[in-house]
Amino acid sequence: MSLWFWVLVAAAAAYAIKLSGYLLPRKLLDRPVVVRLATGLTVGLLASLTVLNTVGKGQSIVLDSRLLALGAAAIALWLKAPYLVVVLVGAIAAGLGRLAGLP
């Protein structure tokens, strides 16, 4: 399957989920399990994606300058820096690491 196919299918799925919220009965919100599952999925996915982008390389774990990016971004977030600054700090940290000869 081409990448275009999955881009469009993913976009359609995202819209279908948004739309379904307006069409489903509102009583569903009274079931705490629905909200919990959504919260759990969101935090779980974002944590996994963070780790994967930090140490993942294909099917192996590689420790390199991306760890510096993680640390620097965490400090920036802790200092309440705006999102775009956090992203830039991550890029600069990894870039500096490589400049210093780290993998």
Binding site: V7, I17, L24, L37, A47, N53, G56, R66, G97
Partner: protein
Amino acid sequence: MTARLTPATRMGLSIAAAVGVYGVSFGALSTGSGLSVLQTCALSLLMFTGGSQFAFIGVIGGGGTGAAAWAAATLLGVRNGVYALSLKTLIEPPGRLVPLMAQLTIDESTATATAQTERDERVRGFWTAGIGIYILWNASTLVGALAGDAIGDPRRWGLDGAAVAAFLGLLWPRLQGRDPVALAIVSALVTVMVLPMVPPGIPVLVAAGATALWWTWQQRRAVRP
């Protein structure tokens, strides 16, 4: 212009201004992950939910398949359904507006609407934030995509470090309290454990699935005596 700025529209505009420019980082990372400029812009125009868009390109950039990227993006979009459900209760939108409202139902427009106390203000807050972000997000995505395309290899300029920071930045505001932190740690550990065992893209799904089930089960047990 005679329209006065109400607290809701003011909040919506400032959130739009602050959030809309993130599209630059999405655009740059997306082309760095191997998507074309056109595919990158299609994601912002059609998918229009930042977390899922980042998830999609994150899986592709890590060598995952299109199907795995679809699954990660879709699971991350589930929360939008919950937002829609609560907005429907709060605003009770007329049916003809629902298709448009649905597309603009994201973290920020929901937050702006629910922060208001009156229905009219909620409506104004939702539309101001939603439309404002839609315009800025798409414009800045294009700028970022063109810039990322010009840079080439994502490892130069530390663009892979930018991806790490981008995901941590999305996760960070949700880590309030002990439970979400425990949840994040469990997910991180599961990811590292399954990473060498399954094809790229799948660890995210395994980790998220395991975490969500564990969390729901934990909560359920806590409620019962």
